[in-house]
């Protein structure tokens, strides 16, 4: 089955590699001027010595205003790449066999269809994990200077680094395998899998993530200026802390936040969620395929 799987998916593997290479080249070209500015504007020194001085605040403010959009808001658009690749590879895996009738040939060879499917899923998933890891590496390298200013909890960092990108890629793939089987069509399966995947990603980014662990609370003097979000110039005083809320009362400011050190814990929890959903969808596909004979 290894050769058969490779032969059927080698075109997709080539296209995925081309996407990876193109993305790496594009990000390299965009990243070069930013890396130069990072050194020239004295930001390297600020990050090393502490960012509280007015000079450093101004330098960081100017740097963020010229590069913030490219590295934060614009990058979010690339988040659909793992979702798209997952559904494009996942939906035809069964959907195309069913819509073109080749399942009758494929499943009447001397390999029972559930074994056929499990072998294919294992091999293609392994390829996707390798692809996801490479994509994560490229993005992490690209974001490295900016991460020193914004921390890893901002969506543009969090969703592209660590485990979540690969796990959510496997999740969209698994949704699409199941949807392709249910719809008996490739394209319909892609759409039917991509929309819930996108909803799940959005919901996680905007609402669920901040509740993955009980936030910490801190009491600051009333003079503290309130700024939400993950930031090096975080009002908590710790680089990369993610400020969730702040209330001014009785001469103090009470801050709730997720400390920067929880990045990997959060990544593990969120990736675990995606992988659980992926395993459920793939298990469902194997079960449905087995039941089709009954």
């Amino acid at each position: 089955m290894t050769w058969v799987t490779w032969r059927q998916h080698r075109g997709q593997a080539m296209v995925s590699l081309a996407v990876l290479a193109g993305l790496a080249l594009a990000l390299f070209l965009v990243s070069e001027p930013m890396r130069q500015a990072f050194g020239q504007d004295g930001i390297t020194g600020c990050v090393a010595r502490g960012t509280r001085t007015a000079g450093c605040q101004n330098a960081i403010g100017a740097f963020l205003s010229s590069w913030g959009f490219t590295y934060n808001q614009a990058l979010i658009a690339l988040l659909i790449i793992p979702g798209l690749i997952g559904v494009i590879i996942g939906a035809p895996l069964l959907g195309r066999e069913l819509e073109e009738g080749t399942w009758r040939m494929a499943w009447s060879q001397t390999v029972p269809r559930t074994r056929w499917l499990v072998s294919k899923l294992a091999l293609v998933s392994a390829g996707l994990v390798a692809f996801g890891a490479a994509l994560t590496g490229v993005f992490t390298w690209y974001r490295a200077p900016m991460d020193q200013l914004t921390g890893h909890f901002t969506e543009a960092a969090y969703d592209f680094e660590g485990l979540c990108l690969t796990a959510s890629l496997l999740c969209s793939f698994a949704f699409a395998v199941l949807a392709g089987l249910a719809a008996r069509r490739s394209i319909a399966g892609m759409v039917a899998a991509f929309l819930p995947w996108l909803a799940l990603r959005g919901l996680t980014d905007l609402f669920l993530r901040q509740h993955l662990a009980q936030p910490l609370a801190k009491e600051l003097p009333a003079s503290a200026s309130i700024a939400f979000g993950p930031n090096t110039t975080s009002m908590t005083g710790n680089a990369g802390d993610w400020v969730l809320g702040a209330t001014r009362a009785a001469g103090h400011v009470f801050v709730t936040y997720q400390p920067a050190g929880r990045f990997w814990t959060f990544q593990a929890i969120e990736a675990g969620g995606y992988l659980t959903l992926a395993a459920a969808a793939l298990g469902g596909a194997v079960w449905l395929l087995h039941r089709r004979a009954a």
């Binding site: 075109g11 009738g101 040939m105 001397t110 029972p112």
Partner: protein
């Protein structure tokens, strides 16, 4: 062991009260039939008669709702390599992967079948002038059908099942395909089951016939025996013979009636106003297909034709 060796060889196919239900509707019901080893069996019926269901139950693509089917004595079950190995299958429209080359398809066959006969596959491709490097999508429909047949043959299974193999082919490709098929069957002492709604294709090659309609077996048996046990009666049209036993199908014109009837071993005594003629293959099949649910040849029943 000795008694085993002396026992009659298991039939290629034995279905016992086989039934398959899809939701509330039965795709096949109460199907009992036997096909001996070495037979070339034609499975005839209109679309939706249950032909594909029966074939998929035989090859292990489906599991029955009731009853069972045995291939060379062993029960066919879905998801079992042992079942899949015993049967070569050419599905309707002979599906292949379009972007695979012929060599790729053969390599798939080799990877997915323990008994794969690569020299046989390559010999056949060479004999048919099909280049191994050519992509499947660049082959003609007839060539694609030949590649699908070659894959089923190279699997080296003793039973070969073909579902409407020539339905999508032009007349020349049909002849070529059936010729190649019959040569392969003769060379390899295979048992063959071919489903088709093109009766004339089957008449030339089949020595065993199964008529399927409405999910039930209407008639099954050796072709020569089935022909010998039926007669076509023609005579003046009367209303009285509607309740006759053994009538498979009756067709009335203004003045005449013609009846296909079952007969016993003896030549039937026929009223002088009626003529009895042997029945043809196609006439027989059509009589059973048109005869409605009442037209059913029970296994091992002998009905004497009674015609005044």
């Amino acid at each position: 062991m000795t008694s085993m060796a002396r026992a009659a060889p298991a039939p290629a196919l034995r279905a016992e009260r086989l039934g398959k239900r899809y939701g509330k509707a039965w795709g096949l019901r109460d199907c009992t039939l036997t096909i001996p080893a070495g037979a070339v069996a034609g499975l005839v019926g209109p679309n939706g008669a249950g032909k594909s269901t029966l074939l998929q139950l035989v090859i292990g693509l489906l599991d029955p709702t009731e009853g069972r089917v045995r291939v060379f004595g062993e029960t066919s079950r879905a998801h079992r390599a042992a079942t899949l190995r015993r049967v070569g299958y050419v599905a309707q429209d002979h599906p292949l992967y379009r972007d695979f080359s012929v060599a790729d398809m053969f390599r798939l066959g080799r990877r997915m079948n323990p008994a794969w006969d690569q020299p046989l596959a390559e010999r056949r491709a060479a004999a048919l002038d099909i280049p191994l490097k050519r992509k499947v999508k660049a082959l003609s429909g007839g060539q694609q059908a030949q590649v699908a047949l070659t894959m089923a043959l190279a699997k080296r299974a003793p039973l070969l099942v073909l579902d409407e193999p020539v339905a999508s082919l032009d007349p020349v490709a049909r002849l070529d395909f059936m010729g190649a098929l019959m040569a392969a069957v003769a060379d390899n002492s295979l048992t063959l089951i071919i489903s088709s709604h093109v009766v004339t294709e089957l008449e030339r090659v089949c020595d065993w016939l199964i008529v399927l309609a409405g999910g039930t077996v209407r008639a099954a048996g050796p072709v020569d025996e089935l022909l010998a046990r039926h007669r076509l009666l023609t005579g003046p049209r009367t209303a009285s013979h509607s309740g006759l036993p053994g009538v498979v199908h009756r067709a009335d014109s203004d003045r005449h009636s013609s009846l296909v009837i079952r007969v016993g071993p003896r030549e039937p005594a026929v009223h002088p106003a009626w003529q009895a003629q042997p029945v043809g293959f196609e006439q027989l099949v059509l009589a059973y297909l048109r005869g409605g649910s009442g037209a059913r040849l029970e296994p091992d029943t002998r009905i004497e034709a009674v015609t005044r």
